[in-house]
């Protein structure tokens, strides 16, 4: 096992997939010089045709990726969540809808890698955590890795998947180190993490926390701290939101009887909302306490460090939520 930084895991996945399949190519803003670090060394190995620096034209190049995918290519587009708004028409009107609208004729193996920079004073225009909005729109697979190994394995799966995928890369994890298995140590000689399979991050019996993206680390810290008090908290990382492994979540709640969800997206109609509603509908009789959502406050991201941290879920808020479930 090698200790790998999250952003390096992205780079490894891209390089491996571009070597494996010549139809895979990268496009985005400032990727040749790897401004964000994930596209380092691509230009020298794969050349200008397969590593495209785009103009600032999200609607144009998001759509060009779709068109290329329709005729046999496998584009990976690098962008930021906050720039996705500019290209929303292509993501929604075309990527999400084409296959169904054309009766299954269109196949779109296109991947959008969307960085979520929040928590670092980036203010309202650079801090979006927008995956719940895409959950509401059928037709896009939604990937939310929480550690370097999953980042690598899920991105490789996304490139091979034949449907449009958006990989939400949590910027709070960009420098996170984690164990990523060496390819030669793996049975298939590569790391591929399938969609729709949640991961049990901590086992526990008193309460379940489902963490989304950066929320998983918070949940794991809470579990570790509460363990010292003899409170046993199970932590589940869904890893993909579309498809969602609701089976693991429901069976965990069946065991613990309590559910907290921590989600860095805004609280209203969040991933946490959807998971809460699934458990309320399908796991109600297992519940011994009201479900607790710990998501971002329904307010824009303020620039000042005096205010920004108050928006997001943190260890303190999640711990308090677990305690509330145990009081009932």
């Amino acid at each position: 096992m090698a200790q790998t930084v999250f952003i390096e895991a992205i780079n490894q996945a891209i390089i491996e997939e571009m070597r494996r399949d010549e139809n895979v190519f990268m496009m985005g803003e400032d990727i040749r010089r790897s401004v964000y670090g994930a596209t380092a060394n691509l230009l020298s190995e794969f050349g200008e045709k397969r590593v495209l620096d785009t103009p600032l034209s999200e609607n144009g190049f998001f759509g060009a990726a779709i068109g290329a995918s329709l005729v046999g290519m496998r584009p990976i587009v690098e962008t930021l969540t906050s720039f996705m708004w500019v290209g929303m028409d292509q993501l929604i009107s075309q990527a999400a809808k084409m296959r169904y609208m054309f009766g299954g004729q269109a196949t779109l193996p296109v991947v959008y890698r969307a960085s979520m920079f929040y928590g670092g004073g980036s203010a309202a225009h650079h801090s979006d955590r927008s995956y719940p909005m895409f959950m509401n729109m059928p037709g896009i697979k939604i990937i939310v890795p929480s550690n370097p190994a999953d980042m690598k394995g899920l991105l490789k799966s996304a490139v091979r998947d034949n449907d449009p995928c958006i990989v939400f890369e949590d910027g709070t994890l960009a420098g996170m180190r984690g164990e990523v298995p060496e390819n030669e140590d793996l049975p298939e000689n590569e790391l591929v993490v399938p969609f729709g399979q949640a991961q049990m991050v901590r086992e526990g019996t008193d309460c379940t926390i489902v963490g989304v993206a950066g929320g998983v680390n918070i949940a794991a810290s809470v579990s570790d701290q509460l363990a010292q008090e003899g409170i046993s908290v199970e932590v589940i990382d869904p890893r993909t939101l579309v498809p969602l492994d609701k089976k693991m979540i429901l069976s965990s709640v069946e065991k613990t009887g309590r559910l907290v969800i921590t989600d860095p997206a805004h609280k209203v109609c969040s991933a946490a909302s959807e998971i809460a509603s699934i458990v309320a509908e399908e796991g109600f009789w297992s519940l011994q306490a009201p479900i607790q959502k710990v998501a971002s406050e329904q307010v824009h991201i303020p620039y000042t460090p005096a205010l920004e941290p108050h928006v997001y879920p943190d260890v303190e808020k999640v711990t308090a939520a677990v305690r509330r479930t145990l009081e009932s």
């Binding site: 068109g67 329709l70 005729v71 054309f102 009766g103 299954g104």
Partner: protein, 329 residues
């Protein structure tokens, strides 16, 4: 340019096919045989047919809401198109797309888009694939004067130009975005003038003249295949009917004078092509009339085919959502 006799007759056949298809659609729509909107292409047939006559089956097109003409011009099947309008399982999209979303991936029709300008970046992407792979196919995007104001168009033309992509932008300037004149909404005199901002040829063509459209497109296609980049062609044309079927019943206020409509109707693209064909001795009056009658007959059969095709079952609702299926929540 010396145009092959067979190609001229194919163009005439496809134009009659579109005309007769649209006349039938208007008839059965007003009889209430299917629901939803439909946007007749009558009056504009020469634009799509002339442009697509310059393409191969291996080339790609993408279009818009006025969507029946493009696929027929590219060689699509009227039976599957009509069945789609009827919402039946034998339709091009198994009834899931309807009038505004015809597509035939077997002959490079990537699909029509109800959001205007939205299919143009997609067409650019097909051209990008040709460029990356070093293949010789080209891509062609149809859009209207209204969509020429969309950011998607401008982003697409710039992208295509900086990457020198093999794409032809075809503006079907029918002069009105629903009821709003392009003269009031387009800042240049001709949409084709916009090409200069993107360093590509901009060619204004008489959109009622199929041969002129063919010649301009063929030159742009040669340029694209040679790796010399995109072109913008504006076919100046006119929509003989209302924006969409049924709109005449709901809109208030005139936006075109009767004189203007009459003037343009005298420039019927079918008359213009037939006169040319007859004058060149390519076909007789009777042969032209036979083509009209044969296509009307084919459309009649297509309509029967559509009427007799079954509706999808409710259990078909979830089909075709995913290429690699996942469980539905």
């Amino acid at each position: 340019m010396d145009i092959d006799r067979d190609l001229l007759l194919l163009m005439l056949r496809r134009m009659w096919m579109i005309r007769n298809f649209e006349l039938k659609v208007m008839e059965v729509h007003s009889a209430g045989e299917f629901a939803g909107g439909a946007h007749p292409y009558i009056g504009e047939e020469a634009v799509a047919v002339g442009a697509c006559a310059a393409l191969e089956d291996t080339d790609y097109i993408a279009g818009n809401h006025r969507s029946h003409g493009h696929p027929i011009a590219k060689g699509g099947r009227v039976d599957k198109a009509m069945a789609e309008l009827y919402g039946r399982t034998d339709g091009y999209c198994k009834g899931k797309g309807g009038s505004m979303h015809l597509a035939d991936y077997s002959i490079g029709i990537l699909g029509e888009s109800g959001i205007l300008g939205s299919s143009v970046p997609v067409a650019v992407g097909a051209a990008l694939a040709a460029s990356i792979k070093g293949e010789k196919f080209v891509s062609l995007a149809f859009f209207g004067d209204g969509a020429s104001n969309q950011g998607a168009l401008h982003e697409s033309m710039n992208l295509a130009s900086v990457w020198s992509l093999p794409i032809i932008f075809i503006c079907e300037n029918n002069q009105y975005a629903v009821t709003t004149s392009y003269a009031e909404t387009v800042a240049v005199e001709h949409v084709s003038d916009r090409a200069s901002a993107y360093n590509m040829p901009g060619i204004l063509v008489d959109g009622q003249d199929a041969i002129a459209m063919y010649e301009a497109t063929a030159a742009a296609v040669s340029r694209a295949r040679a790796g010399d980049g995109p072109s913008l062609i504006e076919g100046l044309t006119y929509r003989f009917e209302e924006h969409s079927l049924g709109l005449g019943r709901v809109r208030r206020g005139e936006y075109r004078t009767q004189e203007e409509i009459d003037t343009w109707r005298k420039r019927d693209p079918l008359d213009i092509l037939e006169q040319n064909i007859i004058a060149q001795g390519v076909a007789t009056r009777k042969e032209c009339d036979d083509i009209n009658a044969e296509t009307a007959e084919e459309v009649e059969k297509a309509t029967e085919f559509a009427r007799n095709s079954p509706f999808p079952e409710p259990s078909d609702l979830f089909d075709d959502m995913w290429a690699d299926p996942i469980a539905f929540p």
